[in-house]
């Protein structure tokens, strides 16, 4: 046998070598020396990886609570616990809450609806008092009731991570599967004034939409083949339902669908960032085959201090197409309107941007962009 190569030496040291390799190493001083050297190297490696750090006591507590919670939920163990699961029913598919496609079409841009769908999220009752004992149903119920109440004034800044997988094109027409960072600015003092923007992982602006009733303008921008296209219109005479409003509706619907599950699970997490509540809706099958939108699995994590949602993830089906998305809040601030710079609600203009003007906008910004682009194409062909 020829001398062993590095892979064979490695396998030998790892106890995975062949009998032939072992025999060779036993009779070949060169290979034995290399095996010895590699053994020493692996010993050093193990020492480097054997971090002498104790497991935090809070982690032991977390895992123990997880065990108790899971045992309670499955009925495999009994005992006192801080974790609760609501008794009972199976996922009912929330038929009354399934969105009907023939109603309002999901027509806003990807950014808007991405935010809308997911943001399903944010404002779970800052004023809610922290109870000493809570249940998932209580948290969800109070969350749902608070979702309808937007902040009365001020400008809300949100940043969050968004991960999409299998989201139907009908819902997010300009968002492929992947990860995004989304920034939202909503002016609660001026109804219908907002700016949303989505960025790729490297921080590159992908799309944005902004409208301001004070100026009567709406700007929608999207990046196609490394170039930004900007569509500017005036606002329609009658403002349609705004993106933030859509968000809240979606948020309410999502939370309500979680409420409709009789099988929520609540877990109390003591983290370095403070106490949090985690509510899971385990994987279940919808009982309503005709439902347009079903959530089959989801969880939400709520900060126990002010009850804002810090994480939200669901799996489900929309128009019978499986999808999932997850949302993780990064920052959330509400500031006084007077302190906000005037250009906050402007979509930034990049060099090389192609700007197209489209007159009065419709209630459907994405359709506006499409129509404007077709008109420009027509003009270009006629000019030839």
């Amino acid at each position: 046998m020829t001398c062993l190569n590095d892979i064979q030496i490695q396998a030998l040291v790892d106890g995975e070598g062949t009998a032939e390799a072992r025999q060779h190493a036993a009779s070949c001083p060169a290979c034995a020396a290399r095996a010895h050297e590699r053994t020493q190297q692996m010993t050093d490696l193990e020492a480097a990886l054997d971090v002498p750090i104790a497991m935090p006591p809070r982690l032991e507590q977390r895992v123990e609570e997880t065990f108790r919670f899971e045992a309670d939920a499955t009925g495999s163990e009994r005992g006192a616990t801080r974790l609760r699961t609501d008794a009972g029913g199976v996922w009912r598919g929330a038929p009354g809450l399934s969105l009907q496609a023939e109603g309002r079409r999901w027509a806003y841009s990807g950014v808007a609806v991405a935010a809308a769908t997911l943001i399903a999220v944010l404002i779970v009752a800052p004023m809610m008092k922290g109870p000493t004992t809570v249940s998932a149903a209580e948290i969800l119920a109070k969350s749902a009731s608070q979702l309808a109440a937007a902040p009365a004034a001020g400008v809300e800044f949100l940043e969050y991570e968004l991960v999409l997988d299998g989201v139907p094109r009908e819902v997010m027409p300009d968002h492929a599967n992947g990860a995004y960072r989304v920034k939202q600015i909503i002016d609660h003092t001026v109804q219908g004034r907002f700016r949303f923007a989505s960025y790729d992982p490297a921080g590159l602006l992908l799309s944005s939409i902004a409208q301001d009733p004070a100026t009567g303008r709406r700007v929608m921008a999207m990046r196609v083949d490394d170039r930004m296209y900007r569509f500017e219109t005036t606002l329609p005479a009658t403002l349609p339902i705004s993106v933030p409003e859509i968000e809240r509706l979606h948020m309410q619907a999502s939370v309500a669908m979680m409420q409709a599950s009789g099988n929520q699970r609540l877990q109390i997490l003591d983290t370095p960032r403070g106490r949090q509540y985690r509510i899971d809706v385990p994987s279940v099958s919808a009982a309503t085959p005709a439902a347009v939108w079903d959530l089959t699995e989801g969880h939400v994590i709520v900060d126990a201090a002010d009850f804002h949602i810090v994480e939200f993830a669901v799996k489900g089906a929309f128009l019978k197409q499986a999808y999932s998305f997850s949302y993780r809040l990064l920052t959330h601030d509400v500031v006084d309107s007077a302190s906000v710079a005037p250009d906050t609600f402007e979509v930034p203009l990049e060099p090389g941007t192609i700007t197209l003007h489209g007159g009065e906008g419709s209630p459907v910004p994405a359709a506006d962009a499409f129509v404007i682009a077709l008109r420009e194409l027509s003009k270009a062909r006629q000019a030839r």
Partner: protein, 182 residues
């Protein structure tokens, strides 16, 4: 039914036996204590469900590190997706220094951090004594590739520590795969 009633007890015993090791394992991979804790919690929750469902219990130690490796990899990828929007708003704390990081160990661990994610994972799994088959499962690679990839990872780590003993200029990519054919 018996399995359901004993699963929590077995899971607790396994947590007592291996919880600290799993925690250190993911801490080395992630260097982010909060994420490491999340991984451990997720791993042992999956263990409980695995046992509750009557899953294979022949190599639960390997199973634990495999699941923990997957959880760590998911978090690592999720974390690496983003550049900070604004540093002031970025909630991630810098990676903590480990308590025993004297010169030699610090150098060894610094070298580990320079390695690609997969190399770190392979080395960490191997250092925990997992078999090649288990490593393959945890790392999502073919079992037949483990030895080759592991050998290269060790070489890269050795090169990064500057601890090669042959005194020759070191270039992992240029090394002949079978220097012993003589």
């Amino acid at each position: 039914m018996e399995a359901r009633s004993t699963a929590p007890v077995a899971a607790r015993e396994l947590f007592q036996a291996h919880g600290a090791a799993v925690y250190r394992f993911v801490l080395v991979l992630l260097r982010h204590p909060q994420d490491a804790e999340d991984c451990v919690q997720e791993t042992f929750l999956k263990l409980l469900r695995h046992l509750d469902a009557g899953g294979d219990a022949t190599n639960l130690r390997g199973w634990l590190f495999t699941v923990a490796a997957h959880a760590a990899r998911d978090r690592q990828r999720r974390r690496s997706r983003w550049m900070p929007w604004l540093p002031a708003h970025d909630g991630h704390a810098p990676a903590p220094e480990l308590p025993d990081e004297d010169g030699r160990l610090k150098q060894a661990r610094d070298a580990l951090r320079q390695l690609p994610e997969r190399d770190r994972l392979l080395l960490a799994l191997r250092a925990r004594g997992l078999s090649y088959r288990d490593i393959a499962g945890a790392a999502g690679i073919r079992p037949a590739s483990v030895g080759r990839l592991l050998a290269r990872a060790v070489d890269r780590w050795g090169a990064a520590t500057g601890r090669r003993k042959d005194g020759n200029a070191y270039d992992v990519l240029e090394r002949h795969p079978n220097p012993g054919a003589r």
